[in-house]
């Protein structure tokens, strides 16, 4: 799956750190500081090397203190209703920072859609590049100007 990737080693390291944080916490829930250190290191590497992380990974890390967010252990998760909308509120128990996610059944992240996957794009190979909309509009204006002068 991760065949020819530019920063494969870096991704491998991020993957290891993320799993190490989980492993450390599962073995002993008091190892929160160590798990936090691993997650902070992972964040720093991703930032320095400009590597993307899937939203499912980013949502499990506290944006403030870099804690690994595990429901019932390092964070609480509640359903709230406000202004006629339902939200999932995740609160970090280390720094009390809360994140809200809108419970919209129609909404789907671009990364989770099938058309976003590169595997599904393999069959779609345009013979000609798609024209730029701005260029097209200019061309139309120019042709109209020519017609009027004639």
């Amino acid at each position: 799956m991760a065949g020819q990737v530019k920063d494969r080693e870096a991704f491998q390291r991020l993957n290891f750190l993320y799993q190490a944080a989980h492993c450390v916490l599962s073995q002993n829930p008091e190892n929160q500081a160590l798990a936090r250190f691993y997650c902070h290191t992972e964040k720093t590497i991703a930032k320095r090397l400009v590597l993307r992380q899937d939203p499912s990974v980013k949502r499990t890390l506290c944006r403030d203190c870099s804690s690994l967010l595990i429901p019932g252990l390092t964070c609480t998760q509640r359903q709230r209703r406000r202004k006629g909308q339902r939200w999932t509120v995740q609160t970090c128990l280390t720094c009390q920072r809360s994140q809200r996610f809108l419970n919209d059944p129609k909404h789907l992240l671009w990364g989770d859609r099938p058309e976003a996957q590169l595997e599904n794009q393999a069959d779609f190979k345009p013979s000609e590049p798609l024209p730029n909309i701005a260029d097209l509009s200019k061309e139309n204006v120019q042709t109209q100007a020519l017609n009027t002068t004639e």
Partner: protein, 272 residues
Amino acid sequence: MAAAPQAPKRGSIRKTRPLVVKTSLNNPYVISWSSLEREDMHFILQTLEDKFKSIGLQKIEDKKKRKAKQRGGLVGTSEEPQEPHGGVRVSGWTPVHTRKQLAIGVNEVTRALERNELLLVLVCKSVKPAIITSHLIQLSLSRTVPACQVPQLSERIAPVIGLKCVLALGFRKNTMDFADEVEAIIPRVPSLNVPWLPDGTQGLTDSLETESLESQDKEVLDTSFDDLTRLKRKLAEGGQAPAATLQPLKIKRLVPNPSKIRKPPKSKNPSK
């Protein structure tokens, strides 16, 4: 007047731009509910439905009161539901003691699980989006509480109790009325699997392993240096696999969203 610039010819060659690909680190863990067999599903739903009907657990709401509350008219009234002349409750749960044995709703179930007060958790499968109940998997497994996703739970149970929907249902440890039902349901609940959380059974084996290792340590203290090397070899030969296995690297390769409105790049020298 200068001549109008001609439009580019139709057959002009343009360089084909390579397809932009965004690589991102995907979550190595896939956490999902275990599938429940059809027979078990029918059994669970039927058992609960019959029990709720026999107990007569229902939420009765006084619509007049509700409207007044929405307007903000109730100021001096007590919060407890008042009983009229007949002694029948106008609003609230009919057998209150039975209601206290249950945790109804996602928030209540979550709270009860955090306090380790539950024996069994049932979650509706028709929840959209899944994020509403996904945290209950890890939570129930960390508290060693059997939990499963039951299709049509809300559709079948909610009308019986007098609610619009029941997304999660938990049975408390102090339950008396539902003890037999819980005992009957628990064996039919499939075990959950979270890759980084050790199962209950695994925990037992781990404790046994640690005991054996401790006994080995005692032996090591008594043995000489020559025997130590032999013991090392034995451990190396019969070494068990580590409890946590490293999941393979998963990388998502995405195409940029074409419908996303992108800001034009800022030029370093702003044109005057």
